[in-house]
Amino acid sequence: MDFTFSEDQLLFQESVRDFLVNEVTAERIRASWTTDSGREDALWNQLAELGLTGMTVPEVHGGLGMTELDFVLLAQECGYVGLPEPLVHTVMVAVPLLNDMGGELAAQWLPKVASGEAKVIVGLEQNVLVEDAHVADLLLIQQGAKLYAATPDQVSLRHNESVDPSRKLFTVELLDGASVVASGEQCAALTASTLNRGALGCAAQVLGLAQRMIDLSVQYTSERQQFGKPIGSFQAVKHHMANVAVRLEYAKAPTHRAAYAVAMDQDVAAHAVSHAKLVACEAANLAAKNSVQVHGAMGYTWEVDLHIFMKKAWALANTWGDAGFHKRRIGERIFVTDAVLGAGATFV
């Protein structure tokens, strides 16, 4: 039993955090909102140079051959800065799906993903819309019991604006030339594990988002004075933030456990992911609610940075399976006659 990250994993987290905090500033995110794509090739290339786009790409295809567990702390950091680029999607969703599929498609695309040359984007029916389809060089789209591969010329996209200006969502209509790459049971299995990894990536990101909202709120309430003192010295304000800290603290271990279960392909993975997604999103939603409150009227403005992170947390809460979806999956495990629950059952 060793529920800790390795020195290497923690060092990697630290260096990626330093990079992201320096590079992906609120100003840069706001600037990206004014561009057509909302995405920056320069930033993507930097991420690729750090090896990040190829983290889960096998070494034979030019990647680092790492796992979801190696990436989970980095996904938290992506959340912390509100990274608009589809890095979590690439590492947690697209690459593992290609790995699962194997064959020619994987051999063709994985090296390009690792080098940063190409982006692969996955669309599952669960999510209704497809994120970042406009920058995809290859789309893997689920429709019913079939999984299609399509290049940009084989799809018609329609942009749908999100509350989070950094999120770019699309309906994807498949045109001639899109080919079926998996169907039936194989498609179902691929879709199921992809959904779990997407939800895990979501959980990890919202942990970072919640921490960012806490940090912004602590900073704001330490500076803002009313009644002759910083408002952060008032207990009512303190307790709002303490409540967030408590929920966030206890959402971390479930998320790390889910990353382990996914990386090890354990039977408990789906359950662990649903647990993580639920408690992480609950913590992030509380962070949003209490942070906007302690920011007062400033929190209701476009100018203050809080909304960059708050809106992303709101959006992620209902993607890759909303609360109802994940609660149903938890229920299927615990509300049955032969459920294995209680003390000593957690790691069974």
Binding site: M1, F3, T221, H239, A242, V246, R257, Y260, H275
Partner: protein, 387 residues
Amino acid sequence: MDLAFTQQQQAFREEVRGWLAANAPLEPLQSFDTEEGFIQHRAWEATLNKGRWGMVTWPQVLGGRGCDLIEWLIFEEEYYKIRAPLRVNQNGIFLLGPTLMEYGTEEQKARILPKMANGEEVWAQAWSEPNAGSDMAAIRTTATLEGDTYIINGQKTWSTRAVWADWCFGMFRTDPESERHRGLTFILVPLNSPGITVRPIPQLDGLPGFAEIFFDNVEVGIENRLGDEGAGWSVAMATAGFERGLMLRSPARFQETARRLVELYMANRESADCDPAVKDAVLGAYLDAESYCLATYQTACRLNKGGKIGAESSTNKIFWSELDQSMHATAMSILGARAELLAHAPSANGVGTWLDGWLFSQSGPIYAGTNEVQRNIVAERMLGMPR
């Protein structure tokens, strides 16, 4: 990261399970807040100690097993699974014991720990005073050193287990000129000392789980001072840390409550589902108990590798105490009209244990520093918000 128990850990679990199955009482003991129950629980402590299962984390030379925190968590899981008796001497073994090991002299350890271990001496807390509750630094009970003897005068209250305990430990003001947390000294006091009056206070369940202690020129030898004179605050902070933290509140208890809550819901599903919020509360309780377990294992593993407990540990008591309260509130909703029945009411049919738990759960957010004080600590020390 490796989330599997080692063979050694699994073997340890088997050993704990086997011993408990052979030795734990088949029938629940009386409450240790009754005289008869107190005697039964004291005997159970002796039984545990004889099997060297009393304090598995204590060093071997002190009758423990030198277990690390993971083994401790395993022990607790098996202990709560079989519903073995609550620990009447928890103030001693979990709070004072570790504090003594850190701050006590060799003489004190040799004199006090073995009798604590076998239940021969049961310990009560003597922290709070009528005007020093959440604000513990407001302590006024004095201990005046005359020669080698402290003369204690004043009053302590909310002293858990004091009615039938043998000793109490607490902080006393040894420097009458001092203010706040300076000038306090940690002293161990035999409860049979002349000049002590213990007045039981019935708790919500009607039983005297705590008491007031009046000190009228009580003489205590200097050998019963723990740590230096005037250093009481830092010694007590270590003890309070044990109280709030990992050691006393392992996740097993809450996971077992969550498991029983799921079973209660399943057995009463038709009526329980009339309130759609109930199912969600049961599911949430299960998830939170699991989260608490996972977070505790993560912390324990970090500590095992030489990490330190940080300010984030202040979130611990808020989380489990409010979880315990909400789980029991949900159980009361499921039980409906039977929820109010005492355990021995003829129609209770065993539901009374939920009521006992519900009553007890009211104390969690209050004792060991109210959750409001804990939230201030989280905000100030963990988040760095202004004082």
